[in-house]
Structure formats: C-alpha cells, structure tokens
C-alpha cells in the first residue's frame, strides 16, 4: 500500500507542479488543486503507526481503550484545516482569475500575451 500511495502522491505532485508552471491561469488553478491533494495526502501519510486500515479514529464509549489502536489524530486535524483553507484559496484565485481575464483581455498569467 505504501508504495502505491507514494507513487500516487508523486504523480499528483508532478501534474500539479507542471500545471503551476504553465502560462494560462486556468491551468494554474487546476494545478493548485492537484498540488493541494498531494500535500494533504503527504501530511496524512505522516501518521504515527503508518497507514492503517480499520483503525478507529473515534474513542470507544466511556474510556480510552488502547491508545495505540487509535488512528493518529494529528495529521487528520491538520489536513481537515488544510482542506477548508484550500477551498477559500481556490475561490479567491478563481475570482482574481476572472477579474484579470475581464480587465486584461487575456488569460495569460502575466496579464498580457507573450511577444512572439
């Protein structure tokens, strides 16, 4: 499982970074989305105890039980925050993108078409 997830993170990162370096604003926004998946998964994969299937993230009623059996909550809490902030960032960037398209007449990231 580890190797698959690692390769997946790598592919997401590659696609995201490639798009970040592209000249069109829409490519950049898609790239940011892909890169944020990659980073979220990367943080998530840091969990103590490694990748775990079927580990409860919730405490059993009325006690703690075995703390080692519980899924590591910290990466999850971090990623949860990151997902919401990622949404805010996408929204803001989208509106800037649209406004720039309207104002400059081009969707190039520099606000003007490159000279050829």
């Amino acid at each position: 499982m580890e190797i698959v997830l690692a390769i997946g993170i790598g592919i997401f990162t590659t696609s995201g970074v490639w798009l970040l370096l592209r000249p069109r604003t829409y490519q950049v926004i898609i790239g940011l989305a892909l890169l944020s998946y990659a980073v979220n998964l990367f943080i998530f994969a840091m969990a103590g105890g490694g990748l775990r299937v079927d580990a409860p993230p919730i405490l059993p009623p009325g006690g703690i039980g075995d703390p080692a059996a519980i899924a590591d909550p910290i990466p999850q809490a971090l990623v949860l925050t990151a997902i919401v902030i990622g949404f805010a960032m996408t929204a803001l960037f989208l509106v800037v993108l649209l406004a720039a398209r309207g104002r400059t007449g081009t969707d190039h990231v520099d606000g003007r078409e490159p000279e050829r």
Binding site: M1, T13, G31, A33, N40, L59
Partner: protein, 969 residues
C-alpha cells in the same frame, strides 16, 4: 483616592476625554472645549495633589502585572522630573485649550480637533509617567501618530498634509530606532524597568552594546526634538493650526526627545561617546537654528527655527554631562515652554486679527493692539535672554556652563564663543519679531482693521507672561522648590549647588550676555536692509532646503532604488518566478538530507495491498495526468478529471481510517466543482493552436525544463513519502490528545476535539481567514467586469429564447423557466433533507465524524442546490439568505465563547463540558466547545454561500447588460 489610582486616572483621563470628544456633534465647539479644558485642569489638579509626596523624594508608582513571563509590567512612575513635565503638559495644555476655543473657526470640526489634542496630551503624559522603557516607546509612537493627525488637521491644505507626513516619517523612523535602542538596553540590563535601568549605569556604560544602543536612542531623541540634521520637519509642521504649534513645539512633542535624554542622562551621559555625539548635534542646531530664524519671513517660521535653536541649546547642555549643566537644561526646558507657548499664541492672534503672518506685510501693529504687543514684547525678551525675565537666568546658567571646563577638547574650549554667537542671533531674531510686527508705519493692504482679540483668547498669554516675569524677578521663591524637586528626580546623588538669583555679580556670563545683546542690536541694524528686501531665507543657506533633501531621499529610496532592485531581481513574468520558487523549495527541502547523510527507506513491514486500492490509484494517477494534459484547451474535461482525483483522495482517506477527512473532502469537492463551473461561464473559450505547426524551440525548451522540474519534484515527494511511511515514528504528541480528548474535552471524536478545544485558537484564525477570503471575493465581484466575449447569454439560452420568440403563445424566458422541471422539484424537496443532514452532522460532530466545518458546507450545498435548480431570482423571492449575517454571527459566537471563559477566570477559549439529558434524544454532550463549533458552522455557511452567490449573481447583472448589447445588434 490612593495615590497610585490617581496616577492612573491622570493617564486615562485624556484618552477618555478624547473618546468622548470624538462622539460630540461636528460643530459642538463650546462643549468640546469645556470637556478638553476640564480634563486638562483635572489632570493638573491631580499632579499638584501628588506634589507633596513627590517632593519628599519618593516617586509615586502604579503597578499592574502585564506580561510577567517576559518581565514586563505596566508601571506608572511619577518622580520630580516627570512631575515637572506632567505639569507643563497639563498646564500649558489647559491654556492651549482655552486659546483654541477662540482661535478655531466655527466652520472647523472642532470636537475632532480637541479629540486629537486630548489623545496627544494623554500620549505625552504616558511618555513622562512610563515606568518601563517599552511602555515609553509605545506612548512615544502614539505621540507621533497623534501629532500627525494634529498637524494634518486642515487636511484640505496640501502643505498641512505634507508637513504631517514629513513629521510622521521622521519621528516615526526615529521611534523605530528608539525601540531597537531600548531593546538593547533591556538586553544589557536584563530589565526594562526604569528604576532598575537607572541603577545599572556601570553595566550599561561598560557594555559593548553601549555605543549601538546610544546611537539608536539618540536617533530617536534627535528626530523627535528636531536636532540637526533632522530639524527640517519642524518648520513644515507649522502648517498646523496655531494652538497645535503652541502646544507641540513648546511644552510637548519636541520636549519628548529632551525628556528621554534627561530620563537616561544619569545612566548614559558622561562618556566620550555621549559628549561627541550630543554636543556637536546640539551646538550645530543651536547656531544654525538661530541663524536661519533671523531670515524667516513667516512669523511662525521664525518661532519654529527659534524653537529648533533652543532645543539645540538644551541638548547641548545635556551633552556636557555635568550635573550643573543638567540643572540648567531642566530649567531652560521649563522657561522655553512658557515663553514659546505665549509667543506662538501671540503669533496666532496676529494671524487671526490681520489675516497674515508674513513679516513683509506686518508692521506698526502696536497702535491697534497695545496689550498683545506688550505681552509679546516681554515674551520675546525672555526668548532673547533679557534680564528680569525667566529666559535670562537659564541663559546665564548656560553661559556659565559653556565657560566651565568639561573635557578640555577644542570643542569644549570654543564653546563660550559659540554660545555668545548664538546669543547674538537670538537677540537679533527677537528684535526682528518685535520691531517688525509692532513698530514702524501702519500696515498696508490688510483685509480689515486689526484690533485686540477677545479677552479670554489673550488670557493664556497674560498668565504665561506673568509667570515669565515672576520667575525672572524672584526665581528662588517661585520656581526654586519645583526645580529642586525635578533635579532630585534626575540626579540620584546630592544635587550640585546652584544659585537661582538674578544678580550674580559682574562675572564672565554677564559679560557674554551684554556682548550678545549689543551684538544682536548691531547685527539687526546691519541686516535691516537685507531683511526688508523681502528675500526668503538666509544668504547662503537659502538654497539648501531640508525639505528638498528629504524628498530627494524619499524619491531615491522609494523609486530609484526600488526600480533598480526590480531591474536586478524582478521580472514581469510569473513563470520564471514560479520556477525559481519551486526550485528553491526543492533545494531547501533537500539540503538537510544532503548535509546529514542520505535518506533511505526504513524496514517497517508494509501494509498488505488490496488490488482495489491499486486500481483506485491507477484511476487517480490517470485523472491527475489527464487533468494536467487537458487543462489548456479542455477546461471542462480537466475539471471533471480533477474531480476524479479528488474523489480518489477522498476514498483513500476513508480507506485509511480518516472518515472525518473523507466527509469534509467530499463536501468541499462538491462546492469547489460548483464554484469552478460557475467560473467557467465567465472564461471565454481559448483560441486553439497558438502554434499551428510546431512550437518554436524556445517554447519547447521551456516545456522540457518544466517537465524536468515537475518530474523531479514529484519523484522527490514520492520518495520522501515512501521513506517516511516505512519508518517508525518514534515520538509524537498524538498520545496527549488521545488520552485527554474524552477526559478533558468531553468528546470521543478526537479530531473534532482538537479542532474546537485543544487547538481552538488555530481554528479561530482559520475561520477568520475563510471570512476574509469570502469578503474579498465578494468585494472583487462587486466591480467585476467580465470579458467582453462572455457577456452574451449562453448559446443554449439564446436558442431557447429564439424559440420562445418564434412561438406566438410563448414569451421569452418561458423555456428557460420550465427547463429541467422534474429535477428542479426534487432539488426543492432536497432542501429540508440536506438541512437536516447538516444539523445531524453538526450535532454528532463532537463524538462521531462530522462537526462544524462539514455541517456548514453541507448546509451551504443545500442553498446552492436551490440556486442551481431555480436561478437566483426565484431563490431570493422565496428564501432570505443573508450570508453576511451568518458570517458575522458565526464570528461573534466563536469570539464570545472564547471570551466567555474569562468570566470564570480561565484563559481565552477554555472549554467546559458536561452531559445533559435532552427529551427524546437522550444524553447529549453539552460542551462550550459545541457553542464554538456552532460559530464555525455559521461562518462556514455564510462564507461558502457568499462566495457562490456572489459568482452566481453575475449572470443576473450581466443578463441585463447582454440584453442591452444584443438589442443594439
């Protein structure tokens, strides 16, 4: 009231008064003046009341624990020196308020003026009462800010704006230097407390940080007190209303720098570094200020340069480092405040009555306003240092100190000559002031016949001049005890012997005074012709303007250097910058591995790989690569593919024991997709085939470089992720949260407890960010101008409308309205279902996957679905959605929950929980964190809905525009 409370009252009164004055109606001139006057008089009364205690030599102190872990307390401290300054600030403040009541015009927004003035007064009091240095710097910066507001009070005048900005730039920069200097002192001494600092002279002087600290502190003091070469802001500050000048440039603002020098004088003076930095600055300021003052044509300009010169004199005295010189400095500070305030007020009266301050136009006013003229003459005599007026005694003390031997250097030996020269100049400009304004032929070309001002406008001058005379004639009886108290506050050792009497016998200082007076008269007679020629400024220095240099420096810094830096480092292209940023990030991330040896994979046994997981990621990888490939020309396809990648992420979360993340990811995915779809409407189609044949080599090369970077970074990430996943994580704080989530947070969903309880403050910051992002989106869209290509209604709607127009029994819009009728109905019905789902997610959030974020986004989806089904108009006719209210309420609820814990004596956002029995539902956890989560919920709903609706509304706005455009076709 106990003394310490009184001290606090003295500090708070002006600020409270300022606040109150700010709320008065715009033209409430009298009530604002009464308010300001009573504050100043009350402050003065408190100060006087405290005098007996201070005179005994024990400072009155107020102490409040502030940041004990940093060794910072809020302390107020009133010793003799502070008492004298506080007395000047309140006393002259009260007189200035009375004067301003008559000076300010009925049309001006006078309450605002008094509000600023009181705030400034409070800041000054804060400086002199501060018991620790950080606090002092804080109030110091406040005086810079409020003086900016006061100088720029007539903000319609460009010169007032420029003068205010210049004063703020110069004194604000000095304030920053001072802050660093004070931090250095704190580092040397180990405390910012003034009492402790004052006891650590040896430590400070011997420290290797002494010189840097000294330079920085002097920069602060010199900029504030307008010492050369920072003097140029003061004359430009004369664009302020005259009461402001009378206050700022006599008793306050500029004296703050002097006060600082005095405050630190016991621990920092007496070294060579001090002498050679302070004395030359003071001397040059003294001579230059006095010389330039002679040639001013503006009455207030003359007084401004004279102020600069007198400040130089005080600085020079402090620089000498001898206790007697310090006594003279304190005494002259007091005297200067008194006579300069009265002279500024007199200048204001002249301006008020004649409509001009130009010395070329004024003359012979004695016949119209003999009282004012007489008062001004006495004050000017004090400025010139004529016997029997207060200025004379402190000037004699200065001359005596100039003659006395300090370091035996050339500079020290030449001081008597320089002092006499400055004396000559001061007599000349004082003569010019009096003779030019009040004597000579009657003025020509004035708007109306000048006359004496209202009595109460003149009263402050009368009082000040009376004090001038009293101090000048019977100094020992009047000012003696006060001065002794102030000197006691400054010098901890036994104060030196000094004599306050008018007649000291026929000695060298008296000779110097006589020479100065005679020389001044001769110089005035000699310069008379030049001055009457009406040329502005002194012969040589005329072309050398501080303001021009200031502007040049500013232009160099903010324009030329910035351009140079941009040329060297910047580019107008984003892509090269992105390449640099990403490459740097990779290098920075790899550097520790390279430095500490190669990283390798661990030997932890891997988790078994279910084939479905591998298949899932096959799809995920394909989606990501496909999105990367399609994003240029096929935006919709790219959007779908990104959604696929998001879904794979989401399934991975749920597979790997993170249901909370999966829920949130899924919901955010939905909202993001809707958002991007709405955005696509306004993004015109890309022109395909930018390079119809083969792209040029440059472009190809760039793509190869980018692919290399992307693959490199992707490979690094994959490798790092794999290494980390195969190594055991040894220690983590996770256990802390696992063990305490239930016992201290009262919830079994650890992630939710972390978010709303343990790390509640982080979440608070996060929702504020969300709030700001939403508001920015909203603001940007209010002025949104879509691309012209996308203004027309979409093709489908156009076809539908054309069909409607062609059919006689249909009106345009009918087809659109009936479109997707059945899905729409289902979507309407879905609203309560989704809303209940949101509530459910919210309620169970503390114990099971869910929570405020997820619930908030769910509810916003319920709203958005309605918009998608029926359009903005229908929804807003049937449903009142007020996203801004949701956001505001959410933020307030969260803050209030946080603040609520203060009531019970706990720190911000401490949560409390217990289980309560709810009918029909059963035992429910009721934690205050739940209330906080409610705030998060409301804010997330508001922010998400605001963003989506703002974008959706563009269709409404531009459908009007497009109808107009199509109608014109």
């Amino acid at each position: 009231m106990p003394h310490d409370t009184l001290l606090l009252a003295a500090l708070l009164l002006p600020f409270l008064g300022s606040l109150a004055a700010g709320f008065l109606p715009t033209h409430a001139r009298n009530s604002a003046a009464v308010l300001a006057g009573s504050v100043a008089v009350a402050g003065m009364a408190i100060t006087i009341w405290l005098y007996p205690t201070v005179a005994e030599g024990t400072p009155v102190q107020f102490w409040l624990s502030w940041l004990p872990m940093l060794g910072l307390d809020f302390t107020l401290r009133l010793d003799g020196l502070a008492w004298l300054f506080a007395m000047m600030i309140f006393g002259i403040g009260a007189l200035v308020v009375l004067y301003a009541r008559y000076y300010m015009s009925r049309e001006d927004p006078v309450p605002r003026f008094f509000s600023f003035l009181l705030a400034f007064m409070g800041s000054m009091i804060g400086i002199v009462l501060s018991g620790n240095l950080i606090q002092l710097v804080f109030f110091w910066e406040l005086t810079s800010l409020f003086s900016f507001l006061l100088i720029g009070y007539w903000h319609h005048s460009a010169s007032a704006r420029d003068g205010a900005r210049m004063a703020l730039t110069v004194t604000g920069t000095g304030g920053l230097c001072l802050l660093v200097g004070v931090l250095l002192i704190g580092r040397i001494v180990g405390s910012y407390d003034i009492d402790q600092v004052l006891e650590s002279r040896d430590l400070i002087v011997q420290s290797e940080l002494y010189v840097p600290a000294l330079v920085l502190i002097l920069l602060g003091a010199f900029t504030k007190s307008a010492q050369f070469p920072f003097h140029f802001w003061l004359p430009h500050a004369m664009a302020a209303p005259t009461p402001v000048s009378a206050y700022l440039h006599s008793a306050t603002m500029v004296k703050a720098g002097i006060f600082l020098l005095m405050r630190l004088w016991p621990v920092m003076s007496g070294t060579d570094a001090w002498f050679y930095m302070v004395v030359p600055a003071g001397l040059v300021t003294l001579i230059l200020g006095a010389f330039v003052a002679i040639f001013q044509q503006d009455l207030k300009g003359l007084l401004a340069y004279s102020t600069i010169s007198h400040l130089g004199l005080i600085t020079l005295l402090l620089g000498l480092g001898s206790p007697l010189a310090a006594v003279a400095a304190i005494f002259h500070t007091l005297n200067h405040a008194i006579f300069k305030a009265s002279l500024f007020m007199a200048a204001g009266i002249i301006d008020h009555e004649t409509g001009t301050r130009d010395l070329r136009k004024l003359s012979g006013l004695y016949r119209y306003m003999p009282f004012t003229a007489t008062l001004a003459m006495v004050a000017a005599a004090a400025m010139a240092g004529v016997p029997l007026v207060n200025g004379f005694i402190s000037k004699e003390m200065f001359f005596a100190e100039a003659v006395a031997d300090h370091t035996g250097s050339l500079l020290d030996d030449s001081l008597p000559y320089w002092a006499t020269l400055a004396g000559v100049f001061s007599v000349t400009y004082s003569l010019r002031f009096i003779l030019g304004v009040f004597f000579g032929p009657p003025p020509i070309g004035l708007a109306h016949r000048p006359h004496e001002p209202a009595h109460w406008m003149r009263f402050p001058i009368e009082l000040l001049v009376l004090i001038c005379l009293l101090i000048g004639i019977v100094p020992g009886l009047t000012v003696g005890p006060v001065l002794a108290t102030a000197v006691n506050g400054l010098l901890d050792a036994t104060p030196p012997y000094y004599s306050l009497s008018v007649w000291h016998g026929f000695n060298l200082p008296l000779m110097m005074s006589l020479i100065a007076m005679a020389g001044g008269v001769v110089l005035y007679l000699a310069l008379r012709r030049y001055l009457q020629s009406g040329i502005e400024g002194p012969p040589i220095l005329r072309d050398f303007k501080g303001q021009r240099i200031f502007e040049k420096v500013l232009a160099t810094l903010s324009w030329q250097w910035a351009r140079a830096a941009e040329f060297a480092l910047g580019t107008r292209h984003l892509q090269p910058q992105m390449r640099i940023v990403i490459t740097l990030a990779v290098v920075a991330a790899l550097a520790p591995f390279i430095a500490n040896g190669a990283v390798g994979t661990g030997d932890k046994p891997g988790t078994a790989l279910p084939p479905a997981f591998a298949l899932l990621w096959l799809i995920g990888g394909a989606c990501a690569l496909g999105a990367a490939y399609q994003a240029k020309y096929h935006r919709f396809a790219a959007l779908v593919l990104v959604g696929g990648a998001g879904l794979v992420t989401c399934i991975t979360f749920v597979w790997l024991s993170a249901p909370d993340l999966a829920v949130t990811q899924l919901l955010v995915e939905i909202v993001t997709t809707v958002l991007l779809l709405l955005g696509l409407r306004w993004l015109p189609k890309r022109i395909e085939d930018v390079y119809p044949t083969r792209p040029p080599l440059k472009v190809l090369l760039r793509r190869y470089v980018d692919i290399t970077i992307a693959c490199g970074l992707g490979g690094v990430m994959a490798f790092l992720a794999y290494c980390l996943m195969t190594r055991p994580l040894n220690s983590s704080v996770s256990r802390f949260f696992v063990e305490r989530a239930y016992s201290e947070g009262g919830g079994t969903n650890i992630i939710n407890v972390i978010l709303v309880d343990f790390r509640g403050f982080d979440t608070m910051g996060e929702i504020v960010v969300l709030c700001l992002a939403a508001l920015t989106v909203f603001a940007l869209l209010r002025r949104f101008r879509p691309a012209p290509e996308s203004i027309r209604t979409p093709e489908q709607q156009r076809i539908q409308n054309a069909y409607d127009e062609a059919s006689p029994d249909r009106s345009p819009g009918d087809t659109v309205a009936d479109y997707m009728l059945i899905p729409r109905l289902i979507m309407h019905w879905l609203f309560p279902v989704i809303a209940v789902m949101a509530v459910y997610l919210f309620m169970r959030g503390h114990d099971l996957p869910g929570g405020g974020f997820a619930a908030g986004i769910t509810l916003s989806i319920a709203f958005v679905v309605q918009y998608m089904a029926s359009g903005a108009r229908w929804v807003e006719d049937h449903l009142r959605v007020l996203p801004l209210r949701w956001m505001g309420l959410g933020l307030l609820t969260s803050c209030a929950t946080g603040v609520g814990s203060w009531w019970f004596g706990y720190p911000f956002l401490t949560s409390h929980f217990q289980y309560v029995e709810v009918p029909f539902i059963g035992k429910m956890p009721a934690a205050s964190a739940l209330l906080f989560d409610l705030g998060v919920f409301a804010l997330v709903v508001g922010a998400t809905v605001l963003i989506l609706i703002a974008l959706a509304h563009q269709s409404l706005r531009s459908s009007r525009a497009s109808q107009a455009a199509e109608g014109g076709d």
